[in-house]
Symmetry: C2
Subunit: 331 residues, 2 copies
DNA sequence: GACCGCCTTGCAATCGTTTGCGTAATTTTA
DNA sequence: TAAAATTACGCAAACGATTGCAAGGCGGTC
């Protein structure tokens, strides 16, 4: 039914191998035959079958892109950037949603392994050891996780969180809280540690969580925050922060009058929420691009990929102060 | 390197064809051999190669999912639902972002065609005639577009827009505007027509656009709206509506005091914006699910797919009234 | 003018499965 | 218990490309 290399060969009166070469090694053909073949291919509307090609070459020209939750507005810009740069390199992207579940994530890697050249794990919830094991079978690149020997791009949330805490301390806050995210999130532990260290000796820190990083969880944690008597809170991400703000509002607690709130990610939502959310902006699109480039360069060449050096990129973050932070009451 | 059907055959002391059958037609094997094979496969960690399988069967078990703009919050919930239902049917999803460009969209269909069993076009910007032509070569399902003979799921925006206009008329508005979206969008022309028809003889309608459906375009159109002297506007989608609200705010025009604004889609943003946006809610997740199910049922069986009846689904919409609509000034 | 080497192209094996066909083994039937 | 019917499994040819090898043609060199 579909037009194959054989049809083109017949049309151009050459052997299939010549047709193949017209596409993959054009310089090895006499210009005349090359154009004859290409012309025939054009006439017939021939497109090489990536499936068949993959079988012999071992390269599918596909990438798996696994995220924790597509609906989390943190991911779409990253996916978009990743898809665009992949396409520019002549690669296609499988997208899969792991639903914040390590088991699903692992299964997804295994399921995709045979039909991709590598996979990028975004905000993986899998344990390091397991990732290392998986990456023996298939090239893996990480976003928001750092493991020696595995390509990764991370956001410098340490610096971001330090800046955020400094901001709060400067405003005069002395009783802080961290609304933490998923336990398996690398970013989460990074932020948690940084908050503790940065506040050390200057303010108290209550940690609440772990929480699923969505608005409902933020909403649910509001009461606890109100009871805790803290005057400022840093949340694992914008979703939690926004849910929290809504919850506090429902409780009659004023943001930022009674308590200040800071998020992380600077998703579209941060600008839209009222009060507009002070947050740590992370370069998601750049991360997407960097991840596929790192992966592709890791899989390039034909020596065993595991022996090649794995690139590691750290992207800068920055605090953007909006309306959800202010001095504590009575200051 | 990877373990193949041959390795399993050797391990289980049977022919490869038996291994193949152990997976694809287990009932045709003696229970004893079947378990022996399956056991061997398990020991070796064997996973059939979908690539090789695709070559012989002609079915890749992959679906292409093409959207106009991944970053538009309208799409992620749809993609997520589509991916989940596809996975439940043992299919994987290629995602591609057409950047609101018909040429890219067409190219994407062609590029993906050889490695998918069908593609879902979400909010296509391609002309009907071209879609019909493409769908001769590869099964296509449509979201937010209706073409005879092609499976499609559409949102009943006609009813939604009628309700929205009725709402505005009842509030007392007599000078309306429609901020239109992309010219090639089926939804856009549906809404445009409905607005004109519903207002006929009861209110004037100014149409502004076409516009790229994002916040910036909405922001840019604000001045024109202010000058037009209308008291209520329906926008093609939430993004435009929200950008418009921001633009009006900058101009000192009060929403909903001076002009009422209604959006379409009910993305997360609608609840978050201030004033909270009155909008038409459309069932995006259901659409994603329905689209892949329609496509899969369209591609099932082995007669020529073009001869099979194409399912068409219309999903209900509904107006949710929030804070961005009110009676016109002086009413 | 014979030999050598390069350039161009054809030949055929291969990638990992599936599947129609054939045959040996087993069960059913008479 | 022999013949017929059925079942279980092996054989080998596809699927659509890639690629190492070889052969033929050609020009250049001595």
């Amino acid at each position: 039914m579909a037009v194959t290399i054989k049809d083109v060969a017949k049309e151009a009166r050459v052997h299939m191998s010549t047709v193949s070469r017209a596409f993959s090694m054009p310089h090895r053909l006499r210009p005349e035959t090359r154009t004859r073949v290409l012309e025939a291919a054009r006439r017939l509307g021939y497109r090489p079958s990536r499936v068949a090609r993959a079988l012999t070459t071992g390269r599918t020209h596909n990438i798996g892109f696994i995220v924790a939750d597509i609906a989390n507005p943190f991911f779409p810009p990253m996916i978009k950037a990743a898809e665009h740069t992949a396409r520019a390199r002549d690669y296609h992207l499988f997208i899969a949603d792991a639903s914040e579940d390590p088991a699903i994530e692992t299964e997804l890697v295994d399921a995709l392994a045979k039909q991709v050249d590598g996979v990028v794990l975004c905000g993986p919830r899998i344990a390091n050891a397991k990732i290392e094991r998986l990456s023996e079978n298939i090239p893996i690149a990480l976003v928001n996780r750092k493991i020696a020997g595995i390509p990764s791009v991370t956001m410098d949330v340490v610096n971001g969180a330090e800046t955020a805490i400094a901001h709060l301390l400067e405003l005069g806050h002395r009783k802080l809280a961290y609304v933490s995210g998923p336990r398996q999130s690398w970013t989460n532990t990074q932020i948690g540690r940084t908050v503790a260290a940065a506040a050390e000796g200057r303010a108290s820190v209550t940690v609440l969580g772990p929480n699923t990083p969505n608005e409902n969880a933020g909403l649910a944690v509001a009461e606890e925050i109100a009871r805790a008597g803290v005057t400022a809170v840093l949340a694992y991400n914008d979703l939690l922060a926004i849910g929290l703000m809504e919850g506090l509002h429902n409780l009659g607690v004023d943001v930022p009058g009674d308590v200040s709130v800071i998020g992380v990610d600077d998703t579209v939502l941060a600008r839209l929420a009222r009060p507009r959310l002070t947050t740590i902006v992370v370069p998601t699109a750049e991360a997407g691009t960097a991840a596929v480039d790192l992966l592709l360069q890791y899989t390039a060449g034909d020596e065993d990929f595991a022996t090649r050096p794995a690139g590691q990129v750290s992207l800068p973050t920055q605090l953007v102060v909006r309306d959800s932070t202010a001095p504590p009451p009575g200051a």
